[in-house]
Amino acid sequence: MNSPIVKLRTAVLVVLCALSFPFISSAVADEGSKSFAEQIATAVAEGIMQSGLQGDALANALAGTATAAASANPGAAAAIAAAVAAQNPGAAATIAAAVAAQNPGAALAIATAVAAQNPGAALAIATAVAAQNPDAKAAIEAAVTAAASSASSDSTPAPQGSESTTSNSSIKENVVLAELDSALNACTDEQCRIDAANAAAAQLGDDPALAVPLAREIVKEVPEAADSVAGIVASSNPELSEAVKHVVENVPSPN
């Protein structure tokens, strides 16, 4: 039979173990908001960068690292891809494409997250990820464009998608903006300008490739219509609602 002292010692031991568990857990699993998979992928990517590896071998090693970590924690695929790409922006497109190929359902989020960190490589990222997911090409290009334009200076023109998309979008954009200008010239009050902007936004319809850049142009012309334009564009392109809202809110006011 156990003596009271032995029981007390056991109880103290159990309490000490329980108290130490949170510290061990936090050290092992997560020191902040990063998942453990993201922490390890980032550390390995740092090691790879220190190794002196170059060129395609470097890009492939980083992409493999990101893919392995995303495989262990698919829910953090976008964050992992962005964290690894941050170590070598030159390999961002390769990394984003590799992780997106493994997680097609998260391709949009992956492309957006990586492009937000590497706005200069937005076109390459969009092209590489869209090649893995041709069905979502327009949405990926639009989301990447939005992320890149939000991340970079507002004065920087937003990157465009493929040549055919750019061409078609440009024609439509020019037509819509020309009609808007014409309508605005006939306006004498603010409500008329807002109505004209809303009408221009409504012409966009379900066109993810054009939604963000054109919403931005419309709001540049009619800043007072920012909220209504964002609402109209987002209602037709719900997957871009956050991006549209962010871009519209950050359109520089005309001087």
Binding site: A45, L58, A72
Partner: protein, 100 residues
């Protein structure tokens, strides 16, 4: 006792594989013992072990990360710096080892 040449080759292959595995296991065991005795140097121990046997990169990283989970990221980084082309294997192995 009659032993054909083919059988002899198979026996030699098995013996050499066994020896290779034993050497690798010994290296990992030594690294684990060293890391347990000196956890703050676990990453350096991992890098030194792997530099002698790059093929054991993922194995060593996982074993040491399991022993010193608080240094898992440092261990993974140090090993990846020595064997960068095994980055994917190192990542998978370390995550699996510490997450278990």
């Amino acid at each position: 006792m009659n032993v054909s040449f083919d059988k002899l080759k198979v026996i030699l292959l098995v013996v050499s594989l066994g020896m290779s595995f034993t050497v690798k296991a010994d290296a990992v065991s030594d690294a684990i013992i060293a890391a347990k005795a000196n956890p703050q140097n676990a990453a350096a121990i991992a890098a030194a072990t792997v530099s002698k046997d790059p093929g054991a990169a993922a194995l060593v990283a996982a074993a040491l990360a399991r022993e010193v989970p608080g240094s898992a990221a440092d261990i993974a980084k140090a090993v990846a710096a020595v064997v960068p082309e095994s980055g994917a294997d190192i990542t998978s192995a370390v995550i699996a080892a510490v997450s278990k």
